[in-house]
Amino acid sequence: MDRIPILKLGDKLLVTIQVDFHDRVALALQEDLTEKILSAGAKGVLIDISALEMVDSFMGRVLGNIAKASRLLDCETVLVGMQPAIAITITELGIALQGIHTALNAEGGMALLERLIKAKSNRGRTANASKIAGRPPNLQRG
């Protein structure tokens, strides 16, 4: 069976979907990726779909689920390279892909992941700092 390779780049994982993304391949990716996030301690996943010529509701659901599962594992997902025709089609189809970050290309996606990871670690630091100071973080402002 075809499996989609997952490349590790520092604290990020890179997935390029080039084969026909049929159902078993999609589900296998979801499994492989969540395992790899844990084993590699990844903080971000970049999924490049520029070679995909269509996304139907099943694939949309798998991509959305990958993003949700990754978030539960403390890892952000950015989807890059969606063809304009696919964006129009899945909107009409009714797939919202809510909660999934997107960028136009791999470069923009990497920069976005970097920002998301940094923002998260800053938030963590602020929360810790306020815990030490003995007050909840939401009282810090003003």
Binding site: H22, E53, M54, V55, S57, Q83, L93, G94, I95
Partner: protein, 138 residues
């Protein structure tokens, strides 16, 4: 209505969905549909092929190039199964209605992506869905 050519593809296993998609992809490119319409047609075919397999327990797809009698060319796809059928076809067309493990966008979504849509189904006697997209007028 004149059927100019026709391909018949079985939908009995998961890989058949990809085969239907590739067949449709070849025909839409041949008919010079715009890229957006090509994508819409292939996506609609994929949704309905999956329905045929999952809910209809297998069946087949007819991919036809048709002429409406005035020289306008269209692509018609008919997905037919002999499965359990759909007891309430109106409800099956609502977004979010699903009996399977999908998002429930298959039928309603396919209808939005195409120009014409017909659904015939009776409980116990299978389902036939016919979708058509006409070539853009230049």
């Amino acid at each position: 209505m004149l059927v100019k050519s026709q391909e018949d593809r079985p939908i009995c296993k998961e890989d058949d969905i990809s085969i239907v998609r590739s067949s449709v992809k070849r025909v839409v490119a041949l008919l010079n549909f715009s890229l957006v319409n090509q994508t819409k047609i292939i996506t609609a075919a994929s949704e309905l092929a999956r329905n045929t397999l999952e809910h209809g327990k297998g069946g087949h797809a007819l991919i036809q190039i048709i002429d409406d009698g005035t020289g306008r060319i269209g692509l018609r796809m008919i997905f037919e199964d002999t499965g359990p059928g759909i007891p309430d076809t109106d409800r099956a067309l609502e977004d979010g209605f699903t009996t399977g493990n999908g998002m429930g966008l298959g039928l309603g979504g396919a209808r939005r992506l195409m120009d014409e849509f017909q659904l015939e189904s009776h409980a116990g006697s299978g389902t036939k869905v016919s979708i058509t997209k006409w070539q853009e007028r230049l």
